[in-house]
Structures are given as structure tokens and as C-alpha cells.
Symmetry: C2
Subunit: 410 residues, 2 copies
Amino acid sequence: MAHAVSPLAPPTFPTLPPVKGVRLATASAGIRYQDRTDLLVAELAPGTTVGGVVTKSLTASAPVDMCKANIKGGKARVLVVNAGNANAFTGQKGITAVETTVSGATRLFGCKRHEVFVSSTGTIGVPLQAEKIVAVLPAAQSALKEDDWTAAAKAIMTTDTFAKAATRTATIDGVPVTINGICKGSGMIAPDMATMLAYIFTDAALEPAAVQTLITAGANKSFNCVTVDGDTSTSDTLLMFATGQAKHRFVSSAVDPRLTEFRVKLDDLLIDLAKQIARDGEGATKFVEIRLSGADNDSAARRIAMSIANSPLVKTAIAGEDANWGRIVAAVGKAGEKANRDRLAITIGGVIVARAGEAVAGYDEAPVTKHMKGQEILIEVDVGIGKGAATVWTCDLTHGYIDINGSYRT
Amino acid sequence: MAHAVSPLAPPTFPTLPPVKGVRLATASAGIRYQDRTDLLVAELAPGTTVGGVVTKSLTASAPVDMCKANIKGGKARVLVVNAGNANAFTGQKGITAVETTVSGATRLFGCKRHEVFVSSTGTIGVPLQAEKIVAVLPAAQSALKEDDWTAAAKAIMTTDTFAKAATRTATIDGVPVTINGICKGSGMIAPDMATMLAYIFTDAALEPAAVQTLITAGANKSFNCVTVDGDTSTSDTLLMFATGQAKHRFVSSAVDPRLTEFRVKLDDLLIDLAKQIARDGEGATKFVEIRLSGADNDSAARRIAMSIANSPLVKTAIAGEDANWGRIVAAVGKAGEKANRDRLAITIGGVIVARAGEAVAGYDEAPVTKHMKGQEILIEVDVGIGKGAATVWTCDLTHGYIDINGSYRT
């Protein structure tokens, strides 16, 4: 299970400040992993509002179903996340396991059932022994503290090779607020809203509807623009908690002009986290940014960009450091969105390699080949139809992906 | 470029009888490969009717555009196929190259432009030197003969590790007719109608509309049910030629009851060829059949089955001989078609492993693990909604795929 840290990992783990109204603890529940933490508990101050988006998978897990239902209530007091078992495709046992965890949390924290959010990540189809989680909850509660975000990010990892977190500050009404985010994800990454598990915490004071609007819009620009293998998880969950502990006046609408800076910083944080997931794509050796322009509209642009990002032939060519733009053409063609073959233009590493439907005359592959040998690959494609644009992120497809996924359960 | 023959290759190349009205020749035009044939010429008797389906790729190649236009005429006299260069994304040069080949063929064979069919397969984005094809056409014409289908199947190979062909006989009006087929394809296989290049020849006497109906219906049950990597080619072309040399009365409709046996045999041949393509999937070590049932309708079943067949996580698990049915659940969930998570049933190698939304109690992995170690993997999935069913074929995803595709152009 242990794999070397991705060569694309950020050099250091960021220092996350406390977020007023959030206390964290981690524990070793022994669900699947030995000798590591596998449980994260976050206590949220009374009054915390919540919004989120979950997978559109039609085989979503029991915890996802529960989060989806509880998001509607708009209030949150406790978050419990376990790694090692996804509690997905576990039938009635799965629902019971969620209820067991929720009951344990409500007893201990004196909150309502709809204020508890549970996530599970790991193997699919194995019943989750929720009593192991409940058993360690009291100790976790005693250990709650405002810092150590590193431990929190580590406790939710599965095949991740590095812990993922980001922080931003913004002002609302001149009052500084903090936004912290942690996430995990490395394979089965083609979120149909959000990727695997991601949690955003802020001390801003926001109406639940505002949180929901902000996080949905942010997800569309970040987690929904990243793919590792085109496989959508049964467990994808992105939740944002706003504790309301910052001293600005309560904000009730996402379009309130006072949120302008906050929105920019939130989106920036979400994109930061999403890129970290692509950087930890299973077996990744290269981080790939695909900028698509000239499409019929932005959705069409995203679909074409994703078609390129998910093409095994494009991804293996990148792994082989081969500027094989013919495969990019094929991936554009299969996306099913309008593209003008004879106006298509492709730029790799800033060098235009194809224009007006054919290779650029006298095109010198040398600078492009040099770019392909680097760790950060930039591919720009204009499909010559309209003004639709999108940017997506992915990684290459290497022997490492096969190694990791040919032996995940053994 | 040379890779070991797929372990899944059929033990022998089938013996194909002549088809009255078809003569074949191969040549070495030196388009890209050295020391091998790279050109196939088929001469078709006057009166030959034709039907076909081509890629739905929006970046289809110039030869594909031309075939699509000429199919409408319903008549064929010459087929010219080259390997090594796909003449795709080559702009106006690509159209000119097709015209050069067509002109050479019409001069030599004394036929009309719309009776010539040209296909090209190989690298995308490199201008095709059609004069090299035209230069060897006269020698090819002199060498035309009724047999040596092996040479024909070999001349159109690219990354294929074995030549692919199949033959069937049927009777129409009590008159025996022959159906021969050859095809190529190994990567960039997720045909959106037909896979790479496939040519069917029969001496049956059929109206063009009947040929078209038969081949479209057959493609939907065969080539459109095979995938290697989810990547749709710019060059997919499936053509069927009916020379009309058999002595039965001319058939003008595909639904004529006299074609009952012919249709069964044609579909059987197409499925045979399609399976051979999955067996030669780049890097394949296991042939995988996915039988999907219980879907809303047959199209939904096919989409779900393809979602499983294209999942890198399912394919790498199979390569790792891991009966990881949780990944099958996830692939069902991401397909976007109706599925009842709590009625889903999964059978691997004939052993039911999950039923009613969870693992079968006391399920013994041993016989399934044994099945996974074999070369022929059977996965049956019932999604518990309706009566829609589909069967698709694919192969596993291995280090071999990465090896082949990380270095295709070098």
C-alpha cells in the first residue's frame, strides 16, 4: 500500500492558522490500516452553517446519501471522517453503520442528528464496523484542539502520497476571516461535482443558502475540473462549514458585494486543493494543465478538455514525453462537442505545433520535446468555433498507476 | 514498434476461401514502414454494391469523409488501404492526397471516382505522400489474385500483433454464398460505430440499401461493443462489399426472409472480428466479456457495460487478477444510466459475488480468484431496473499498454 511520495508534491505542507469555532482531533480506530490514524473528528461551534456538493454517482455510498440529506438542514456541529473503508455498496448494513456513528456523535456532543456529517473513504463493498469509530469518539473529543491541521489532513488519506491542505484569508466588511481546506484523493478521480473528500472551514458568518451557492460555484471551477482516471467515486463529498465566529455582520446572500474578495479567495483555495489532487494522481510523474478555448460554450469547452485529459493515449504519450498532438486531435474529435477540424490550433509549452487543421510548416519539435521532459505540462487547444473556454488539470498515465491499481486490495 | 504477439491471439489464422468477384493484391509502398507490405488493393467486380459506417469523430480524416460521401452512391469497384499514415488532421493536403489516390485508381481500373474507396491508418498529422501509393498501383493490379487473404490482412496492420480475419458461409435461396472479413485495430479503440478498419466481402447479390442496413445493424452488435482504451479513432471505417456473383436472385431488402441465415452468419462474423480486436488490445493479457442485464433499455445497458469496460480501475484490477467488484459498482454508478444500487447483482466467472446491494454472505473468493488468473474473464452485472441487455468485449490494462503508447512515435 505504501507508495513513494509523488514527485509533483508541493515542497512543504502549508501552515494553517486556527479557524475560530473549529476544533479538530484524530484517532486510530483500526478500521483497516494499522499503525496510523484513520479517523478525523471536527467539532463546529453552535451556529455553524454548512453547504456542500456530493457525487452524482448512481451507486453513491450511504454516508453520501446522509450528507446530501443533512445539507438541506444547513446546520452543522460535528464532522466524522474515516479512511480505509468507503461504506459503499454495503446495503442496509451501510445505513446502519452511518446511524451508529451519528448516534455516538449526538450523545457525545449533545447535538441534533441532522447536524452530524459522516464521510467514509477506502475499499468499496466491505461492511464498516462503525462501533470501532464510536469506541474512539470520547478520546477524540477530549483531544480536540484548534490547530494541527496536518494531522487532520493525514488521517483521511488512502492511496494519497502526501497530505493536502490550503489556507486563504479575506476580509468581509473590513473584518479578516480565515478559510482553511483539506482534502484527499488520488485515484477514482473524475468527480461529478467534487473529488473524493474535501472540507472547507471558515469563521465567516454566512446564511446556509450563501454557503451552498459559493461552494457549488467554486466546485465547478476547481474539483470538477480535475481528473486522474475518468473514474467517478461513489464517495465524492465536498463540504464547507462557516462557523460565524468572525465579527462581521452576518451575510445572507452569496451575491452580496461584501463577499467579492471572499469568493475570489475561496475559489483560489478550491483550485489549489484540486490541483494538489491531480499532483497526487496515482503514479503521476507529470502535472498537466489543459486550456481549452474556441468552443461553442464553457460547458462544451470543459467536456472537450476532459476528453483530452481522460484520453489514455494522450496520458501515456505525456508519460513517454512525446508531444503526440495527433492524439489530442483524436480526443477532441471523440468529445462529441462542436469543433472545426480545419481551424483547430494546438500549442504545447507555449509553442504552436498545429494550426488551421495541420502541422505548422517547419515546426521544430525540439523546444516542445524539452517542455515534455519537464514536470509541468501545458497544453492549449483552440477548437475554432466560438468563445467557450475551460481549464482542467490532470496527470500522466504511467506504470505506477498500473502498479498501484493492480494490487490495491492485496 | 514490434511487439510480441498477444497471448490472446487465436492459435491459427483462418483459411479464407475466395469470394467470387473479389481479387486482392498487396504492395510495399514505403509510406512509413520498411521491409513489410503497407498497401492493400481490392478489385471488385462490376455491379458490386457497398454499405458502410464510419467514425462519428468530429475530427474524422479525409479518407473517412470521402468514404462517407461515396457510400451514398452504393457502388464500388476498387478499395485502396494504406498502413503507417492515417492521413488525418492533414488539412487541404489530406484531401489532395485522397484525390491523387482516387485518380490513380480510376485511370488504372477504368471506373468512376465514386466507385473508389480509400482508407488510411497510422500516425495522425503527418502529410501522406499519395504518389508513393500511385506508383505501386500498376504492379499491384498485375498481381491481383483471388486468394491470399492472409497477405491482405497483414498489409493493413499497425500496432496489431496478429492479422485478423474471419469467414462464414450462408445460403440465400438455397444458393451458397461466402462472407469474408478482415480488420485491423489494437489501440485507439472505442469505435463510435466501427473500429479502425474492417472490410467485409461477399458474393451475395444485394441492393445497396440492404447492404447498408445489414452492416449498420451488425456493427451495433459487434464493433460498437468492443473497447480497448475508450479512445475513438479519427479513421474508423467499416465497409461491406457485395459482388453479386452468387447465383441467387437479387435481394433488394435487408428484411427479406431469404436473408435470415445470411444475417445470422454476418453478425457472427462481425462479432468474431470485433472480439479479435479486443484480443489484440495493446498490452492485453486477458480477454474480458461483460454481460449487462436489468437495464432500462438496450442502449442504457450498452452504456453501463462500456462504462465498466472503459474503467481504468476495473481494467487494472483485472490485470492484477483481483476480483475487485467494488470498482464495478463505481463504474455502474458513473455511467449516468438508471441502476438500483440496492438490487445490483454481480457475477464473476459464474460465481455470484454481490446481490441485493451488498457482498454475498459467506462469499468465498477462492473460485473467483482462480477465474481471474485465467485468460478469459466473464463479468455479469444485473442493475435491477428493467429488461435492457448488452454484451461488450474488452481487455485488461497493463504495463504493456503504457510501454506501447509511451513510445509509439519514437
